[in-house]
Symmetry: C2
Subunit: 91 residues, 2 copies
């Protein structure tokens, strides 16, 4: 669905309906929602007594952890990219 340049998508996350809105392609929004749903289901399977709020917060913590690890890897790669290959210090 297209609305003022934005895509809108109805998704189900852990049994609740959400409308996800973003400039990103629908496939991207679907992937994002699927990842949150999957993460919540994995945490719920390991911790069946958790209420949905704590489950959602733990999912957000997990995903934020993945984000910062990837950010570190990205920055390492970027630093490597900028260092000329085989360069030696000048005397």
């Amino acid at each position: 669905m297209q609305e003022s340049g934005k895509n809108k998508l109805n998704v189900e996350i852990f049994g609740q309906h959400y409308t996800v809105v973003g400039k990103e392609p629908v496939a991207f929004l679907r992937m994002v929602a699927g990842h949150v749903d999957d993460t919540m289901r994995q945490i719920a399977a390991a911790n069946p007594r958790l209420d949905v709020t704590r489950l959602a917060i733990l999912a957000a913590l997990n995903i934020a952890g993945e984000y910062f690890k990837l950010k570190e890897a990205y920055e390492r790669l970027l630093a490597q990219e900028r260092a000329p290959v085989g360069s030696v210090p000048r005397e």
Copy 2:
């Protein structure tokens, strides 16, 4: 706090107490928890009527969106890294 090679940290996220456990350094765990708390507070400020569960799920969606965008950027950089600079196709 150290427990069987894991770090343990008490954090407050949107007024609720959580114990975050991970192999990562305490500073990393604190950064992750701070990012989830900040994201929830930003969404709550823009949508004061949302309940905490929806707020947490929207925060998870936002952070997952950041993650997948960074993943795309990381993969682009990796592909660039692998392509030899100034290479020309063989005839």
